[in-house]
Amino acid sequence: MRLVVSWLRDFVDVKASPEEIADTLGLRGFEVASVEPLPGGDAVIDFEVTANRPDCLSVMGLAREVATAFQIPYAPTPVTNGASVPTGTSDRITVAIDDEELGPRYVGAVADITGAASPSWMASRLQAAGIRPISAIVDITNYVLIERGHPMHAFDLARLAGAEIRVRRAKKGERITTLDGVERKLDENMLVIADRDRAQAVAGVMGGAHSEVSASTRAIVFESAYFKPASVRTTSKRLGLKTEASARFERGADVNGALPAMQRAIALMESIGAGNVSNPIVDRYPAPRRPATLHLRRARLASLLGAAVPEADVVRILQGLGLGVTAAGDGWNVVAPTSRVDLLREVDLIEEVGRHYGFERIESAFPVLTQPAPPPDPRIARDGLARRVLTSAGLSEVLTFGFIEATAAALVDPGAANTVAVANPLSAKFDTLRPLLIPGLMDAVAHNRRHGRRDVGVFEIGARFAPGGETRAVAVAQTGAVSDHWKNGPREVDFFDTKGIVERIADAFGIRVRFEPVTLPFLVAGQAAAVRVDGSALGFIGRLSPSIADERGAPRQDAIFVAELDLDALSASVGVPFASVRPLPRHPFVVRDLSIVVDDTLPAEIIRGTIRTAAERIVVAGAPLVDVRIFDRYQGKGVPDGKVSVSLRFTFQAPNRTLTDAEVQQSFDQVLAVLVREHGAVQR
C-alpha cells in the first residue's frame, strides 16, 4: 500500500516527517518497503500490509493507525466529505440481488457525466499511489478505492440492456470479455453483475469491456458493492486475474462502507465538475450487518501480555482506532466497526492494545516451570548415535532434499512402485519424493568428484517416502581411498569398509545383523547384500552400478560403495539394552590357529555357523570355544582351483579353570572333524 503523506494529512494532522511516520508504523505492525520523496515536500511510504488488515489498504485505515500511534486526533478535513444524495428508487436503473450469499449488498447510482478531465491534483495523487489515471470517472472510482479501501466500478448506462443491474451467478458456459480485452469462460460458482441479457462484470474482480466507460459515454452507473471474500478469492484464482479490487474484496471490504464510498464518489465527481446525480441512490442490502460488540477483561489483558497497561492507555488506544469503548464490569465493552474484519474476539483487542502500547515496553519474564520436562523424542538420541558412529568412521554428514527428480528415483525404484510424486512440483528436478536416500547421496558424491575430490565418504540421516508411509533412514557412500598416509600410501575403499561401517552401526544399537547376497537394480551383481535382522529386512549394501554413477555425473570407473538402513526398523529391533557388565575372565585363554582348504563358493558365514554349532556341543566335554575369527583367506599357489584356504583363529577359555593342552586339543579336533564332515575341509 503506497501511502501519499499529503493525502494522509487530509485525515490526520500529523506533523512528523515521512521517515518518522514510517519508523513508527514499522513498529506497530506495518512493515515499510520504502520511503520515496515526492515534489513539493510530499512523500510516499510503501507499507507491506498484513493479510488480516484489508482496512489498511487505504489512506483512511492507515490514518487511524497514525492517529493512534502519534496520539493525535483522527480528524478528516472537509475536503474528504461525501455527498448526501438520498437513497430510494431510481427511475433510470433497477437493481436486484439474486444471490444474497455471494453478494450481500449492492449500491448503485446513475450519474450524468460531462466528459471533464481529472484535475491534476487527483491525477498526481493516483500516480503517486501507483494507479494510472485514465478518465475522470475511472479516476474517481480509483481515488475512492485508495482513500477508503472500497472498490468501485462504473458502467456505461447506455450499454446496460433493460437499464437493469442483476447480481447473480454466472450461467453455465457464459462468457465475458473483461476490461483487459481477454475473453473469459465463467462457471456457476462465479458471481457476476449482469444486465437483462448478459454478464457485464465479474463481481469484485473486473468489469466487462462491453459496458466500459468511454469518451462517448453520457450517463454512468456507479457501483459500490460488497461481495463474499471467499467467492471473490476463488473466482480471481480460477480466472488467474488479480486486481486492486479483488485483493481488497477477498481479504474483506467493509460492507457498511459501501454507501459512504458511493457518497464520496458523487461528491468528488460533482466537485471536479465531472458529472452530477439527479436520482436517488439505490441501496440493496437485504440483511444489514451490525458492528460486533466484544468484551475485553482487564485481568485477561494483563495476564496475556504480562504487563499492566494503564487503563487510560487501553481506552485511548481502542478509541484512537475508531472502536467504541464503554467501561463494563471487569473491563470494557468494545464495538468494532465492520471495517475491522480482524476483530472477532477478545484476544484481537488485546493485540490492538499491546501493539499500540508497544511490545518494546513489555519487560521480559520467564515462564514458571511447574513440572519436570519429559524425556525428548527417542529418535533424536538414536539419530545422534548413528551420527556419532559415522563421523567416528571418518564420514561427513550431508543433507539433500526430500524431493528428487523422477529419473533419479527410477534408478533405485524402476517400476516406481515405491515412489510418490509431487502433484505441483516447482520443477522436474524436484517432482518426486525420494524413495531412498541413495540418489541424493549419489549426487553429493558426484558433486565432490566433479570438483576434484578423490576420496569421498559421506552419510545422510533423513526421511524417505513410500505409499506405505514415511520412514527415517541412514545411508552411506564411500569412494576413493579410506586411508592415505606418506608411510603406507593410499588404500582403496572396498565392500568390506562399508560393511564394517554397517556392522559398527548394528553393534552400536546392540543388534546382530546378517548379510545375504541380493540382486538390486542399482547395485553391481555379486557385490550386493541385503542386511537383515531377525529375518526382517533392514536395508542393503553394495557397489553402485557404474552406469548409475555415470548417469548421476560421477566418473564411471569410480568404485562407489553404498549402504542404506531403515533406522525405524533398526531401533524397533533393539533388544535388551546394555544394563550390566560381565565379570572379567579369571583364567587364561588359549589360542589355536587352523588353516583349511574348502570350496571357494562356501560362504564364510556358513563356516562360522558350523563352528559355532559344533562349539555349542563341546562346551560340556572339552575346552569352551569363546571366539573364532577368520584372519586369512588365500587362493593361488598351493591351493587347487575352485578351492580356497581359510585361516581361522580359535580362542578357548573356561570361566572356572585353567585349560589343559589335552582339553584344548580335544575341542580343536572335534571342531576340525565337523568341518571335514560338513564341508569336506582339508587341513593345510
Binding site: F359, F366, D377, V422, A423
Partner: protein, 352 residues
C-alpha cells in the same frame, strides 16, 4: 684478517672453539680434540716441547701458562661434549615433523550443529525436543492452525501437495502434503498431551520456493511451544532473549515487531539487536541495527479449541526460527545453496 695467534692462550682457545663449531660429526669433533689435546703433534704437545726446551729462568712462568692452556682446552672440550649430547639425534631418531596419521573423523553438517546447539539451549530452559512427520495432512498443517480452506497459504503455488496420499499412523490417516512448518507437530503433540507443555520441534519443512541465493524449497525449522496457566507475552520475550544471548552474544537484545500469523494472536516478528555493530549499522543488519530471525506470538485460542484445550484456562506462546537463517548469520554463509550442495570443502570447515 689475521688468524688468532697459536702462541697465546686466547689465540689457541679461539681457534679451538672455531674448529669445534665447524665439526659436522662426532668423528670430526674427536679429530679437532686430538689436534689440540692429543699426546703427539698437538698444539698442547708443541707447548710441552717448548716448555721442555725453555731456559730454566722461563720454565716456571711457561709451565704455569701451559697448565692454564691445558685446563682451558679440557674445560671447553667437556662443555662441547655436553652440548653435543643434548642436540644430537640418538640412534633410531625419526623426523618428528612429518605428518601424523590422523584417525578418521567426519564432520557433522553445519545445520546439524546449529540444530543441536539450539536443542541444548532450549532443553536447559525446560523444553522437550520432539519430532514429527514431514508429510502431513491438511488438518494438522492448516485447519487446526486457524488456516481455513480458503487461506492463501494453502494455495497450490505455496504448498507442495502429493499426487497420491501416503499412509500415516492409523488406518484413516492419509497424508497429502509436505508440511510448510513444524507447527503441525504442535498440534499432534497437544492432541496427545495435556498442559503444561513445553516443547521444541526441530525438523525439515517445505515451501514452493525456487532455489536461489536466499531461498530454498526445503529448509530446517525449530519451533517452540509453551502452554500452561498464566503464560504471557513477557514470558515469550524472556525465553527468546535467553536463546538470543546464548546463541549470539550476551548483550543481544530482543525486539518484537507486531505482525500477523493465523495461529498466534498477538503475533510478532523477532528482531535481535545486531551483535556485530551493536546498533550502529553494518552490512549484516543492513544498517538498521536489527536482524530478523523468525516469528512468534501467543497461541491463538482457535488453535487450542481445535485440539480440545480450554482456551480460557490455558494460554501459551509459540515461535518459529529458521535453522539455515541462524547458520547463515552465525557462520556468515552468503549462499543458502551451500548447505545442500554438500561440497566437502565447505562441510569440512565446520567444527567436528
Amino acid at each position: 684478517m689475521s688468524l688468532p695467534n697459536l702462541h697465546t692462550i686466547e689465540g689457541v682457545l679461539a681457534r679451538f672453539h672455531e674448529d669445534l663449531y665447524a665439526a659436522r660429526s662426532n668423528q670430526d669433533g674427536q679429530a679437532v680434540r686430538d689436534r689440540y689435546l692429543g699426546r703427539k703433534g698437538s698444539v698442547l704437545a708443541e707447548w710441552m716441547e717448548r716448555l721442555a726446551a725453555a731456559p730454566p729462568a722461563h720454565k716456571r712462568e711457561l709451565g704455569q701458562l701451559t697448565n692454564a692452556l691445558k685446563r682451558e682446552l679440557e674445560t671447553r672440550w667437556a662443555s662441547y661434549l655436553e652440548t653435543r649430547q643434548a642436540t644430537a639425534a640418538p640412534a633410531g631418531a625419526i623426523d618428528v615433523t612429518l605428518p601424523g596419521r590422523e584417525p578418521p573423523l567426519g564432520h557433522r553438517h553445519p545445520l546439524t550443529i546449529v540444530r543441536s546447539d539450539l536443542e541444548a539451549i532450549f532443553t536447559r530452559m525446560g523444553f522437550t525436543a520432539v519430532e514429527g512427520p514431514e508429510v502431513e495432512d491438511e488438518w494438522h498443517c492448516f485447519d487446526a492452525l486457524n488456516m481455513p480452506a480458503e487461506h492463501p497459504a494453502r494455495d497450490m503455488q505455496d504448498t507442495l501437495y502429493l499426487a497420491t496420499p501416503i499412509a500415516g499412523e492409523g488406518p484413516a490417516d492419509r497424508r497429502t502434503l509436505l508440511r510448510t512448518h513444524t507447527s503441525s507437530m504442535q498440534i499432534r503433540y497437544m492432541q496427545t498431551h495435556a498442559p503444561p507443555i513445553r516443547i521444541i520441534v526441530p525438523g525439515r519443512v517445505y515451501r514452493r520456493d525456487d532455489l536461489d541465493l536466499t531461498h530454498s524449497p526445503a529448509f530446517g525449522q525449530i519451533e517452540g511451544l509453551a502452554v500452561g496457566e498464566g503464560i504471557s507475552l513477557a514470558d515469550l520475550k524472556g525465553t527468546l532473549l535467553a536463546f538470543a544471548q546464548q546463541t549470539f552474544s550476551p548483550t543481544t537484545r530482543v525486539r518484537f515487531r507486531p505482525s500477523f500469523f493465523p495461529y498466534t494472536e498477538p503475533s510478532a516478528e523477532i528482531d535481535l539487536s545486531c551483535w556485530q555493530c551493536h546498533g550502529s549499522g553494518c552490512a549484516m543488519c543492513k544498517k538498521t541495527g536489527w536482524i530478523e530471525i523468525g516469528g512468534c506470538g501467543m497461541v491463538h485460542p482457535a488453535v487450542f479449541e481445535a485440539v480440545g484445550y480450554d482456551a480460557e484456562r490455558y494460554t501459551g506462546f509459540a515461535w518459529g526460527i529458521g535453522i539455515e537463517r541462524i547458520a547463515i548469520l552465525r557462520y556468515q554463509v552468503e549462499d543458502i545453496r551451500l548447505f545442500y550442495e554438500n561440497d566437502l570443502r565447505f562441510l569440512e570447515q565446520f567444527p567436528y
